[in-house]
Amino acid sequence: MKFSDFVANDAIRSHVQADSKEGVIREMVQALVDAGKIASGDQESIVKAIMKREDLGSTGIGRGVAVPHTKHPSVSRLVGTVAVSPVGIDFESLDGDPVQLFFLLVSPPDRPGDHLRALENISRQLRDESFCKLLKAAKGPVEIQHLLEEADSQGVVS
């Protein structure tokens, strides 16, 4: 699975304003609403579901990366977005480091395979240190979009 298969380009944010875990999740879900990927009526329920998942264990998987996610019956296909916090946010991540790079995923309840393949793609690409750095330093959403496209086509050349 490629980034372009699940990342809504219009919902990418390069400079999130939020300074808390819930804040950044809320901002990213709002971005998906603004991009027309999820209905505004489902926003609150999706935020709550993602926070509930975080309560089971942080999705801050290390290297300044978090993958907040949930299943939700309101979506018929996997939707996701990417956000960067230039300052970093305390996400209770597994290595304790603040998180700068967020991949948020909302998947239909009956498609665990798609969710796994999205996680596979994200984690495989993020093993490339320079790709991580470039994403975190991106000046705007379009730059993030281009980096993701480059990764989709061959992996980032640094």
Binding site: G62, P112, L116, E120
Partner: protein, 126 residues
């Protein structure tokens, strides 16, 4: 991420070592690789939370631990690496451990898979 040196004796495959492992305590201590097969029982596959559980368990041991699926290999102590396996429900994986506590580590990780990562909640998870 791959800083530890690998001590696996040349020419010895994981499989042949599995067969030998029961009998040969000394080899593990000397840094040979022991292996065992596990199956992903979780209906959601090896997603973020199980990967976290495996990495946490793996980090408790000195031995180098790797999970192998077909041709793919992942550092058992890294969630990021484990997620790259994208192991769906029913996938068979080989766990390899190399080091002084390889046997115990394999036992512990095998148990974690057998207990379905201690996940007692139902399909509600993500």
């Amino acid at each position: 991420m791959f800083t530890e040196s690998r001590n696996m004796t040349k020419g010895q495959t994981a499989k042949s070592q599995t067969a030998k492992s029961q009998a040969d305590e000394g080899m593990a201590a000397a840094g040979a690789t022991l292996a065992r097969e596990v199956v992903v029982l979780n209906s959601q596959g090896l997603h973020a939370r199980p990967a976290d559980a495996v990495a946490r368990e793996a980090r408790k041991w000195q031995s180098r631990i790797e999970l192998v699926a077909d041709s793919q290999r992942a550092d058992g102590k890294s969630i990021l690496e484990l997620l790259t396996l994208a192991a769906e429900s029913g996938t068979r994986l080989v766990v390899e451990a190399t080091g002084p506590d390889a046997r115990e580590a394999l036992e512990a990780i095998g148990g974690l898979f057998a207990r379905n990562f201690d996940e007692h909640m139902t399909e509600r998870d993500s």
